[in-house]
């Protein structure tokens, strides 16, 4: 009889104990999860520090290389009148956010509007005998406006006294989107392409946080496939000043 009673209570209490343990475990797990997510949230905020918004202006020297092999429409432009293998000046302005990630990685995000005037180098010449003049099948727009975004990693260089003057090597991607009208001549055979993706390399000099002088070299190409692949080379030289110092 006792053994039966013992077994009955034993089973009952064992079940209750298991249930309590399970619940405690669940509560503990959810508490840990909440704590972890809080920590993660705090950590993610701590990851990005010292964010400074700056305004910048820059001189843009640009040149584009054009491969018009894919054009089948029988149009000609005299080569010497359209080919201009030089860097031409334009300008850009915008704002950038400089910060530090995880206390050691310097980064920069920028948003800019660019007015570019580019020299144009045409890779191919064609001729139609008995005409002696060379020509191309395509004339690229050489003045256009873009919106651009860039994300750069900044490597602090051990030059000079780093607390006062800071020198950075800069690298990262950027994307340009043409917002100006594309001429009909640039839309032949699906040559029109508004988006350019760039790889950027450069150097920056931070003068005690008062201002930053920068020089970036950007090499870009069409993001989408185009019958006229264009390679856009750009040198961007400019200065940025913290927004809070200006306003």
């Amino acid at each position: 009889m006792i053994s039966i009673m013992f077994n009955k209570y034993f089973i009952k209490y064992t079940l209750v104990l298991i249930a309590i343990c399970f619940n405690v475990n669940v509560f503990a797990q959810s508490a840990i999860q909440i704590q972890n997510s809080k920590l993660k949230k705090d950590r993610s905020i701590v990851d990005f520090i010292n964010n400074n918004v700056s305004l910048f202006g820059a001189l843009d020297l640009s040149k584009q290389s054009i491969n018009d092999n894919g054009i089948t429409v029988p149009i000609n432009y005299l080569y010497n009148s359209v080919n201009n293998n030089v860097f031409k000046p334009g300008y850009s302005g915008g704002f950038r956010i400089d910060g530090i990630c995880k206390n050691e990685h310097h980064y920069m995000l920028s948003f800019a509007i660019n007015r570019l005037a580019t020299g144009s180098y045409y890779e191919h010449k064609y001729s139609l005998s008995p005409y002696t003049d060379d020509f191309t099948h395509f004339k690229a727009d050489n003045v256009f406006t873009t919106l651009s975004i860039a994300a750069h990693y900044k490597l602090l260089l051990p030059i000079n006294e780093m607390k006062k003057y800071k020198f950075y090597a800069v690298a990262g991607p950027s994307v340009d989107y043409k917002i100006s009208n594309i001429s009909n001549e640039n839309l032949l055979n699906g040559a029109g392409n508004r988006t350019i993706i760039n790889g950027d390399l450069g150097a920056e000099f931070d003068n005690k946080g008062y201002y930053v002088l920068f020089a970036h070299y950007k090499i870009g190409t069409n993001l989408n496939q185009s019958s006229v692949p264009v390679q856009l080379n750009r040198i961007e030289i400019g200065m940025s000043i913290k927004a809070k110092d200006l306003f």
């Binding site: 149009i75 948003f111 020509f135 919106l147 009909n184 001549e185 508004r194």
Partner: protein, 137 residues
Amino acid sequence: MKRLYSFIIVSILISTVSCNKEVSSTSSDVMTNMIANKTWYLDYSITGNITQNFVGQSTYFITYLKDGTTKDSDGIIGTYTINNNNGKYEIQVTAKTVNGNTTNYNHVIESVGNVKMVQSFIATGQTVKTTLYFTSK
């Protein structure tokens, strides 16, 4: 921080949405703009192996106007259109001669620009192609 994340998200959205490619269906319009409101002078005519050079001489010329009319040095007056015939661009002229006779012809546009234009055709009863080289002045 929220602003920073918003900036990143907006930036990604802009770059994603902007990935489109434009295609023009205006090849004929571009060509019309190139040849219109100019007088084109014949420099060379090549039929088979025979080349005739008219550079520096009194030569045949033709004017195409933006309103779609044409007039040439032979007194032929009419209208023209540029058509895309399976990737070959043709200039189709419907005109009348000085005597009032109707004359229609199609020339293939081999190449056209702001200064140089090349047309070709095979004359009725001929098998050899004639190519005409024009310069605008």
